[in-house]
């Protein structure tokens, strides 16, 4: 079917059949590779969910504990506390840094260097961040095993994702609109708060969700920064260890008892389901974005009225400069 619409069917080269066979073989191998990957994906999900769903009960979900006794509540809450802490540290630098890269850098080399640093920060191995967190945050800065140390270690990893995805969604905004805003006398603050942030909200949300999904599944950064707490929730921001789900998985499967294995499977199931949901929302950000845009539409109307009917007085001096920066 594929070949008949590509070759004139009356041309019969000598090598025609072998080329056709190669194409058929490539097609078969392509399908096989895809099928193989999907089969492994299904196998992973099936084993984890089978193991987790078979062992789950309310008692495990509602009590504090470790892999030898009790439940996972400290892990479930601790994971989200740590991720929230990481987001707290990474969201503001990520979004505002992206605003700077989008609107203020006039030198391409400087912005290129900043982007490069952001990119290579994603490739620092997680255990290196963990060791750094232990040596510097836990010991040198005397934070102890704590939410703040663990959150900073996660934040280091979340920051580049948030910054890059935010910047990308700023770049997707029509540049004419931004130039028009500058031409009408808007300043950087106006453009950032009334055009960039509202219009890129879906993209920023997608970046946040992606980075949260990555952070929730991390272990190596947390082992020596958040340590582990089987007694319950951390009592304060510093000097109080935190439990998290990935520890239950790692420690549970290395214990001999069936109970520990069950906890590992349940934790893995919770992790894998939350991560999948987060990733799919962030991947299908355009669908989510349609919803968000409906929410932000009234705001857009306000912006239009402000810019079209009465341009703000304060930014007039910045007009020519702003225009220059937005011309490529």
């Amino acid at each position: 079917m594929i070949n008949s619409d590509m070759h004139g069917s009356e041309i019969k080269w000598k090598r025609h059949s072998s080329r056709k066979a190669k194409d058929a073989a490539a097609r078969l191998l392509g399908y096989l590779a895809l099928g193989f990957m999907l089969a492994i994906l299904i196998s992973i999900f099936a084993y984890i969910i089978k193991g987790g769903a078979g062992a789950i009960n309310w008692n495990i979900l509602s009590t504090y504990g470790n892999t030898s006794e009790g439940g996972l509540l400290n892990g479930i809450i601790g994971t989200w506390e740590l991720v929230g802490m990481g987001l707290l540290f990474s969201l503001i630098p990520g979004v505002f840094g992206a605003i700077y890269l989008t609107q203020a850098v006039s030198n391409r080399h400087i912005s290129g260097a900043m982007r490069l640093f952001t990119d290579i920060l994603t490739s620092v191995p997680s255990i290196v961040i963990g060791l750094f967190g232990y040596l510097v945050l836990v010991i040198r800065f005397n934070l102890g095993y704590s939410l703040v140390a663990g959150g900073l270690a996660l934040g280091v990893m979340m920051l580049p994702y948030i910054m890059r995805i935010t910047e990308m969604s700023f770049r997707n905004i029509q540049s004419e609109q931004i130039m028009n805003a500058y031409a009408l006398g808007a300043d950087h603050v106006n453009v950032a708060t009334r055009i960039l942030l509202p219009q890129a909200s879906a993209g920023i949300l997608s970046g946040i969700l992606l980075s949260v999904s990555i952070a929730a599944g991390e272990t190596a950064q947390l082992l020596y920064t958040a340590s582990f707490n089987s007694a319950g929730l951390p009592s304060g921001l510093t000097h109080s260890p935190v439990g998290y789900l990935t520890y239950f998985v790692w420690n549970g499967i290395n214990q001999p008892s069936a109970y520990a294995h069950n906890l590992a499977f349940i934790s893995a199931m919770i992790l894998i389901i939350s991560v999948t949901v987060l990733i799919f929302i962030s991947k299908y950000e355009d669908v989510v974005g349609r919803f968000l845009r409906r929410v932000f539409a009234p705001l857009g109307a306000v912006i239009n009225r402000v810019f079209i009917e009465s341009p703000p007085e304060q930014g007039v001096k910045g007009k020519s400069k702003g225009e220059k920066e937005w011309k490529k």
Partner: protein, 327 residues
């Protein structure tokens, strides 16, 4: 500009410097903590595979200006070799599979199936690495131990390294397979994006000259998208080098012996740091911690270098290719 804008610009400028500052801080501190070990170990760090924390019950001795426990010696050759072997195996598996997957998705399957399928493949990159480790221990290791490795041993013994003894399911093959699952989505996305971004003229021109889809795919991968092909592979390699928990769980954690066959256990740099940090924390002289910092530094430098190279190659390639016409 008024003060509000000046302040806003300054604030956003500071925020945009944060990634660079964080990276430099991490490098500087890791180097600072690794320094005693760098001086103490010298080149033995890269030539010896004996990792001995020394006898901590005896009083420390002074070597090259640093107090260390007697008998301490830190050779990272095993860890370096383990990391390289498992990552190389991962690339060897993941690269052809990713190429075939992107060929299938891009060339043979209907266009509307592409986005969901690529999202599913990318899901591999999002699965937490401890979950891979768990799956590896529960599913992959028994399968390797009971079926695949005995079969390889009896049928492929003539290949060097394939004739060793099958002891446990963990080790090189398990690590390589799991790493290949983790990096396949990276390579696949880069390839699919690059096939997508190839100019219509090239694709339509080739098809109208009678090329089959396989020939089109091969042409794109070796010409127009060549740099993305290499760049994607390097980005995948960068991820594989630094991967920690999964290879810690299925690697076997061997000590002071080099892997003898493909069925041997391994102990990668990242896994070794996790495994030995716990005992290093209590150490009085600190040289043990410093040696782990040196291991981290080395791991960080090579994985940054590989990633940087991958990004350069993959990024530059987007503009190139049309003039490489060889057909």
């Amino acid at each position: 500009m008024d003060t509000k804008n000046k302040f806003f610009n300054f604030f956003t400028f500071l925020m945009s410097l944060v990634p660079a500052l964080v990276l430099i801080t991490i490098l500087a501190f890791v180097l600072f903590y690794a320094w005693p070990s760098i001086v103490f170990n010298g080149t033995t760090f890269f030539t010896s595979y004996i990792w001995n924390v020394g006898i901590s019950s005896r009083p420390p001795v002074l070597v090259r200006g640093f107090l260390v426990p007697p008998n301490a010696s830190f050779g990272a050759l095993l860890f370096i070799e383990s990391t390289l072997i498992s990552s190389a195996l991962a690339i060897l598996i993941a690269f052809p599979v990713s190429f075939l997957v992107s060929l299938g998705v891009e060339m043979y399957l209907p266009a509307r199936a592409k986005r969901p399928l690529v999202s599913l493949i990318e899901l591999f990159a999002g699965i937490p690495s401890v979950v891979y480790g768990l799956w590896g221990i529960v599913v992959l290791e028994p399968l390797l131990l009971n079926t695949i490795e005995p079969w390889m041993r009896s049928n492929m013994y003539f290949i060097p390294g394939f004739s060793g003894e099958v002891l446990t399911g963990s080790g090189i093959i398990a690590s390589g397979l799991i790493l290949s699952l983790m990096i396949a989505p990276i390579i696949t996305s880069v390839m699919v994006n690059s096939f997508d971004s190839a100019p219509k003229e090239i694709k339509q021109g080739l098809v109208s000259l009678g090329a089959t889809k396989w020939e089109l795919g091969k042409y794109l991968a070796t010409n127009y998208s060549r740099s993305s092909t290499y760049g994607g592979a390097l980005l995948g390699l960068g991820r594989a080098l630094g991967e920690t928990m999964a290879v810690l769980m299925v690697g076997g954690g061997i000590v002071n012996v080099l892997p003898s066959s493909i069925y041997s256990g391994i102990n990668t740099m990242a896994a070794a740091i996790v495994a030995y940090l716990d005992s290093a924390i209590g150490q009085g002289t600190g040289i043990n911690l410093s040696a782990l910092a040196e291991l981290s530094l080395f791991l960080m430098v090579i994985s940054l270098a590989v990633n940087l190279l991958g990004r350069r190659i993959a990024g530059r390639g987007a503009l190139r290719g049309v003039e490489n016409d060889k057909l």
